[in-house]
Every structure is written in C-alpha cells, then in structure tokens.
Amino acid sequence: MPRRQHKYIPATEAEREEMLRAIGVASVDDLFGDIPPAVRLTRPLDLPAPLSDPELWATVRALAEENLHADRVACFLGAGAYDHYIPSVVWHLAGRGEFLTAYTPYQAEIMQGELQAAYEYQTLLCELTGMDVANASMYDGASATAEAAVMARDLTRRDQVVISRAVHPEYRQAVRTYTEPLGIEVREVPWRDGVTDLEAVAVACGERTAAVIIQHPNVFGCLEDGPALAEVAHRRGALLVCAVAEPISLGLLRPPGAWGADIVAGEGQPLGNHLNFGGPYLGMLATRQEFVRRMPGRLVGATVDAEGRRGFVLTLQTREQHIRREKATSNICTNEALLALAAAVYMATLGPQGMRAVAELNLHKAAYAREVVGRVPGYRVAFPAPTFNEFVVRTPLPPEEVNRRLLAHRILGGLPLGRWYPELADGWLLCVTEQRTRSEIDALAAALEGIR
C-alpha cells in the first residue's frame, strides 16, 4: 500500500531514497539493526485510525462539550483553583509562538526574551510576596510546598516539619510523599475556629523542627495570624513556610516576607492562568537572600555581554541536577516557564493599582456573599475568623445534595469538605472571585432558600 504523506512529516518518498543512499543503506529497516529482533514489534500498534483535521476537531471538541465549565455556570468553587478574569493581552502575548515553542534557554544570546521575562517574573513575585529572591517557577503550589519542606530540612539540618491541618489536604499529601523517603517526620497540628491552633504549634515545635508550614489564606479561606505563627516557629529555631494558594490576596494582604515567613511556596494559577481542569498550574517559590543556594529550580540572573550590555542567563546552576547529579537541591528540571511568563504579563498589566483593585473586589464580593448566604435560614457561616475570597458554610442538607440541586439554577456550588474533614461533613467551602456578579450571588442565596 502506498504510504500517505502526513503533514507533520515533510520527507517525501524521493527524499527518503536519496537520504538512504547518502547513508549507504538499502532501507529504513536497516537503520534499526541494533534493536534485537526479539523486541521488535511485528504488528502495527493497535490504535484507532488516523483522523483528518476536521475529524480531529470534531472528535476532541465533542469531549470538551461534555464538560461543565465556568462560562456556562456561576462557579463558586475554589480550594486551590480560582476563576479569575484573564485580560486578553495575557495569552495573546504568552501564547505567541516565539514563547510557546521555545525550549529552556540554554543558548542565552538568542533567548533574551524568555530570560528577561523570567527575570522580570522573579522580581514581580518578590514584590508580591515581600521576599528577596524567587526562582523561575516550580510545578504547582503543592509540589512547591513539598520542596520548601525539603529545603527547610537542608537549611536547618533538622528532620521534622510541623504542618497545619488548615493547609490544603492535597498540599499536605504532596509534602508527605516528598519527605517520607528522606526520613523527614511530618507532624500535623489541628485547627480551631478555622485557623491554625497556635498553642498546638508551640507544643509540636521542638529541637528537631525544621519548619512550620501554614497556608495563608488557609484552606478554609480564613486568614491566619502569620506574624504570631512566625514568632512561635522562630523561637524554636524553625523556619516558617507559608503556602499561598491564592496570590490575588497579596494585592491586599501584608506579604509573608514582611511578617517573618522564610519561604513562600505558592500557586500561581490565579495570576493569568486558566483553570485547565487542574493543570498546568504554576508553582511559585520565594525566599530570603541567604537561602538562595539551597533553593531548588532554575534561576535567571542579570549580567553583561562582551560589549558591556545588559543581558540575562540561567545562573547558580551548580545547585542543579545536571551538574550536582545526586547531590542536587532537587531533581526539578523542566518547570512551568510559560505560565510564569503569563503571570508576569498579568502582574505587569494590572500593576499595583490593579492588583489592589482585584483583591478588593474579591474581598467585598465574598464578604457580601458571606452575609447573604449566612442569612439564609439553616445555613450559617462556620468560622468567625476574617476571610479573603473563600469561607465555610454549614449546610442543613449534605453539601453534595445542595450542589446537585443548585445545578438546576446553573450554579456550580462550593466544595463539600467532608471528603477531607470528616468533622466537617456539613462543611461547604464557597469561593467568590471578582468574576461573580451581585445577581449571581443573590441567585445563589435565593436558590438556597429553597434547598433546606
């Protein structure tokens, strides 16, 4: 059967023949001579027949159509993934082929665009978090938090971390996965009234404690008393690691670097990146100047070229696996450079005023929702602590049932917390970003009137 030319493979039959002659073999099969015959596939792979472009479009689009998405419903889900408005410029710029189809900037002279953007991202993230240095990105918020725990172990030479149960459960699971093989003990401390129990932290911290890990705002949307927690950790010689799953909050909240956090590990999805059904997301990591050589991941630095002009390169690579091999600070290699670029464009577009304004919109709208939902008979706000854009509500029916009935009103309800916290079987985590309108919030409250 004649081979049909595929559009992604330019080699024509005539060119193949010419190339085979130049190599000095009779057929392509001869090039595979080093593969033992016993492991060669003697049949075609059992895959569906290839699709033409229109067929591919229709097939994949049909799968997309089956999913409920945030343009079709009013989304009150958060918990580590946030529906924020993304200015059109963000992906028009980050999505340009010159950025999208480039690789890690190993040849700095022809990758100044990527490198400068990463240097700007590092700066923007430092400004947002109040830290001295940030790396060029990690995988996501959970893995960045896990790497921060390992980093704290290396910095303090202590082998235990204390982590609040008010940290996102999936972040805590990632911390356990990363630390367990290294012999780091993970001690969880309880929360009380929606925030980390300060006394329990003081009791749990000892001479072996490398870090206290908190999340701010925490998984219940409550604001932690970061300064007090940092003080407790520091009194015991431990570092304070602050996970930030919702960096939009930092447009308004005092940044962790200003109240004593030593490492900020965060999720950058809210900064101009799509919900994407959970990925790709953007891991953020920032720390103090003196810890930079223990920081995992890539770093971009400014330098000069042979003519004295400013330029940028990947630097401090002696921390990294391709030089240090088994002694590296981490095995992270490819990171989330494109999403860091999108986050940089987002932060630059909003500027200080815009970041503050978006944060305030989140605060005000969530506060309004908290009030109107809290007034619906049978529903009550669970915790008195101040919140940013998420809060927990106790529901009269199981939250799963409430969600099911809300869908009839084109409302995607909050997250039932019972899956993670059996003691909160009636706990329902609602998120209100700047995307939710007053009429959507009012519609939620009105619908709840009928669901009790």
Partner: protein, 503 residues
C-alpha cells in the same frame, strides 16, 4: 538606533513605569462595600503596594512582543537539541486545548459533569499503554523529572510492600542528571556503572554492581549517545534475576514509536515526556507532562486518583490504600494531555511509526553528512540522535565546542546540546526530529561544516561568536559570582512600595 533595532538595549518592564498609568479596566464593586479595615485586621493588611510597573496596555503589548522577537523558537527555525526532541507543535492543538470545555473547567467539578475530560484521560491512558507496552499509565507528573520521581517512588513502595529494604539504584555514567537526583530524592544511594566501548551499558560492570540491595536500574534507551542498548534483554535478565526493577527514562521514546515497546524489552516502569515525543510545546521550559507507565505488579502504587471506567461513565478513584499518594494537587497537566491525545489521534499507528522511522532516518543522514568534519566517538548506526565530538577542533585550533555552538547561532540555527553526555569529550549532541525537511537538514549540515572550517581557518571568528545576536557572549561567571536575581528600585527614586512591606 531605531526603537525596533534588535540590538537596541531592552528596558525592563519596571523601567517603563510611569506613576499613575493603568493597563487594565476593572469594574467598581456591584455589592455594598464596607471599609477594608473592618474586614481584615490592620496587622494583616499591606501598608504599601508592591513595586509593580505602572504601564498602559499598549506598553505591555509592545514590551512582550519585542521580547518575543529576542527569542528563538521552533516556529522560527531548526532546534537540533539532542535529548530534548524539539519537533513541530501543531497549531490545531493550541485551539483545542483552549476550548472553554477544557480550559475553563474547575478541577473539583463533580465527576459526573466532566465526563469528556475523564474520557479523554482514560482513552489517552489506553493509547499510551498500547504504544509503550505497559499496563497502566498515570498523568500526575508535571514533567519528565517529576515522572522519574513518581516511578521511583512506586518502585520503593513495591519493595516496601514485600518487606524488602533495598538501598541502592544503578545509573549509567551517560545518564541524564535527573536520574541520580531522583534516586537520591527517593532515599537511594546511587551507584554509577560505566558504558562500554560500543556505547552500551557495560553488562559485566552491571553484573558486578547488581545484588539484592539494588532496587532498580535507571536506563535511557535509546541511550543519551543516541544508541540502542543492543544487549537490553541480557540487561533486564541481570536486573530481574536479583529481584530488581527496570526503570526506563523515556526521554528518547521518539525513536521507538511503533518499532519496539519498552514493555516488551523488560522495563517495569517508564516515564514518557509527552512534551517531547507527543509534541506538546515546551513553552520555554514548561509546562511539560511526564506520564508514567507501569507493569501490572506496580499498579497498586499509582498516585491517586486514577481514572476508572464504571459502567457507562468514568470516575476518579481515590481509594487506593497502597498508593504512593500525590506529587501535586489535582490530576496533572491536563491541557497537555489534550494536545498529546490530539497528536496520537491524528497520526494513528502508521503515522507514529513513520515518526520514528523518519526521526531515525534524519539523524543518520545528518550524521553521514557530518562525520568527516568532526570526531565520531561511537561510529554506529544511531537512532533519532547522535553525538559528535569537537575534540579535534579544541586540540588543533583551540576552538571549544562551546565556541562552535555560539557560532552556529550566527547561521540562524539553535545550537545542538553541548557537553552532554558527560562521557564524551567536547560533546555535540544533535537531534533533528522527523519534522525537519531534507532541505533544512542540508542547510544545517552546511552551516556546521562551515563552522568547522572557520575553526580551522579563522578561529577567532568562532571564539568570539556570536556576532549577530541581540547580545554578544554573556558573562556567566559574573552572573554566578555576583548574583543579580531581581531588579530593585533605585534608592534615589521614590517608588510606590518603599515602605515596611518590602524586604
């Protein structure tokens, strides 16, 4: 010098800042507003704004568009980076991944309302299992190295479930640096085994190193020299006979599609860099996707959740007591799974085999064109990539491989991978991929030959390269000795964020 001159100094976005300028139009709150101080305790409120730039929307557009002009990409030209597999990234995939039904979906949407997304993951898992010869595949890892971590954690959990406390992992001296780093992150001691004169793993040395304390051999095949491990079955036999596991670093999977399957070669676990082999864009270094395939005995240890078929629908299964847990939140880099799925569906079995055949043909053709002009450390048939050495140029003319890599930039190509693998002196590692045409291969070969000629005739031109790029050779030593990792507002200029919220 014109503002559009590519060699003009590029300001930082911060240097474009003008106080009071705005880049976005935000609404006023449509809800009743109370003072922020009534909502948030004073000691938790920011006192001064971050020193982000104050720029207009057009400032932002021009700045990042100009930066994009200072970037080399696949869309612009050939990117022959060995072991990185820089092939064409189909445009239709970008449109598909950005359909609202994918990019606007919240990960905690109840599974019954995301059946399309779950079906895509379930089907992609079956497609990759067939292509790799593995039994199941997880999509949690965000990149190849992350996949290594998941794979090795599963191996560790497997031995633990059998009550075996193995402590060592064998890695060849040609391996990617991520392999030993991963083994160390899993608490293993790394044992390095040398390669033999043909560029294969030295089976004798492997036999000597292998005992019941070894959990796994981490092998890249085709290896980082671009060579297929000729004695792969014997290697697997040595490792398995002592109860060890075979881990495949799948960075070089491009060469095997439809030709041979790792699962049939004796591998128990492998990661697949979907961003390489299955053509999702690299994005300047991520997002990637490092799917991991396992044989049946390792299935209980897969990260949670897995996607399972129940009746007519698909569910997320969290109830897996022996799972290694999670290495990140949610389910992996889903948007890249959409692209990889589209890639496989558009090529089918015959197309994928053509990918491998053409990648190998292109590499062998380039190697044939270049072999007289450089040293060839392992004169064998290569797979989809090959390694040359610039040792001759270094010895005779004092021109290092680094210099030749910089010079090739002046000819409009990205440089090959250099100084890797570590076992080849002055290594030059070239991977053309199947999406480059013969014409482009010829142009690249002629450019590289011209550089070799220049190294002999006008070595200074090469030593001081590049000459035509937006910046000249950069001082990497200075960057490392005097780290400048962020811009700082100048002390004599008032900046918005100069209060106590700044470090």
């Amino acid at each position: 010098m014109s503002a559009r001159d590519p060699r003009r100094d590029m300001p930082l976005i911060f240097e474009l800042s003008t106080p009071g300028r705005l880049g976005c139009a935000l609404p006023d709150p449509d809800v009743p507003v109370r003072p922020v101080a009534e909502r948030v305790p004073a000691h938790l409120l920011r006192e001064t704004p971050p020193a982000l730039p104050e720029v207009s929307e057009l400032d932002v557009v021009r700045h990042y568009t100009r930066l994009s002009h200072r970037n080399f990409s696949i869309d612009e030209g050939m990117y022959p980076l060995g072991s990185c597999t820089m092939k064409y990234n189909p445009k239709i995939h970008e449109d598909l991944a950005r359909l609202p039904g994918f990019c606007r979906v919240h990960p905690y949407t109840p599974p019954e309302h995301v059946q399309g997304a779950l079906r895509l993951m379930w089907e992609l898992e079956r497609l990759l299992a067939e292509i790799s010869g593995m039994d199941r595949v997880t999509f949690h890892p965000a990149a190849g190295a992350h996949g290594e971590l998941v794979g090795m954690l599963m191996i560790r959990a497997y031995f633990r479930s059998r009550g075996e406390a193995r402590t060592r992992v064998i890695v060849p001296d040609s391996a990617h640096g991520t392999n030993p780093a991963t083994a160390a992150m899993c608490g293993y001691q790394v044992v390095t085994v040398r390669s033999d004169a043909r560029g294969n793993l030295d089976v004798g040395a492997l036999r000597d190193a292998m005992d019941e304390s070894v959990a796994a051999l981490m092998l890249t095949n085709p290896n980082t020299l671009g060579l297929f491990e000729e004695r792969i079955l014997e290697i697997a036999e040595v490792v398995h006979s002592r109860g060890g596991q075979m881990y495949l670093d799948g960075a070089n999977f491009n060469a095997m599609l439809g030709v041979t399957r790792p699962g049939d070669q004796g591998f128990d676990v492998m990661h697949m860099n979907l961003h390489k082999t299955f053509s999702t864009p690299h994005g300047g270094g991520g997002p990637g996707a490092g799917a991991v395939g396992v044989k049946a005995h390792l299935v209980p240890f897969l990260p949670v959740p897995t996607v399972e078929r129940r009746g007519d629908g698909f569910v997320l299964d969290e109830d897996r007591p022996q799972s290694v847990g999670r290495v990140r939140a949610f389910y992996g880099n889903f948007a890249n799974l959409v692209r990889a799925y589209a890639y496989i569906r558009s090529l089918g079995a015959a197309g994928l085999r053509q990918v491998a055949e053409t990648a190998v043909l292109n590499a062998n053709y380039l190697a044939a064109r270049l072999r007289e002009h450089f040293d060839v450390p392992y004169p064998r048939r290569c797979m989809h990539e090959f390694v040359l050495s610039g040792a001759r140029q270094k010895r005779l003319y004092g021109v290092a491989t680094r210099d030749m890599a910089k010079r090739i930039l002046d000819y409009g190509f990205h440089a090959p991978t250099v100084y890797f693998p570590l076992i080849v002196e002055e290594a030059i590692m070239i991977e053309p991929t199947e999406t480059e045409s013969k014409r482009t291969l010829d142009e690249f070969a002629e450019a590289l030959i011209a550089v070799a000629r220049e190294a002999r005739d006008t070595p200074d031109v090469v030593r001081t390269a590049p000459h035509t790029t937006p910046v000249r050779r950069l001082d990497e030593v200075r960057a490392a000795r005097q780290p400048d990792l962020r811009w700082r507002p100048r002390r004599d200029e008032p900046v918005p964020g100069a209060g106590r919220d700044r470090p």
